[in-house]
Symmetry: C2
Subunit: 88 residues, 2 copies
């Protein structure tokens, strides 16, 4: 399946959340990831996130699609950061 | 159609971008909006955003769907901010 994942977490957890998401998905914007993922991988990703985030303060939204064919993506402004931007 | 809009803009433009998006869509997370919108409204929304953002620094991604039926949304952690959180 294809997913779009957006997160809004407290500053101190941003790096960890970003790192977990990076293992399974492609980084497309500050706190947005997308990509093909299996049901099993998504379960693991969610479990890892649940261990890190504070459910009373942080928010993660996952939009799940059977296929990427169901949407069209339009970019305005700069495109897609590279992971190097983030971790140097 | 249904859209998910995510933005990453410089601090000083956040309020204006948020305000424009709020006119047409529902705020679901820090820099994420979603909602039903007509082609015409979306064109206006994009024009308004293009006037505000700096295309060399800011990023707006719009995912467009014919219908909401094509995806399933899953929330982890806190849900949906209310507009009051933002503007008081």
């Amino acid at each position: 399946m294809f997913v779009i994942l957006v997160y809004d977490v407290e500053e101190k957890r941003v790096y960890k959340v970003h790192k977990i998401c990076s293992k399974y998905l492609t980084w497309v914007q500050n706190s947005v990831f997308e990509g093909e993922i299996t049901e099993a991988q998504l379960r693991i990703l969610k479990d890892e996130l649940k261990e890190i985030i504070d459910k009373t303060k942080d928010s993660v939204i996952i939009y799940k699609f059977r296929t990427k064919a169901y949407f069209e993506r339009e970019d305005i402004g700069i495109k897609k950061p590279s992971s190097e931007d983030y971790f140097i």
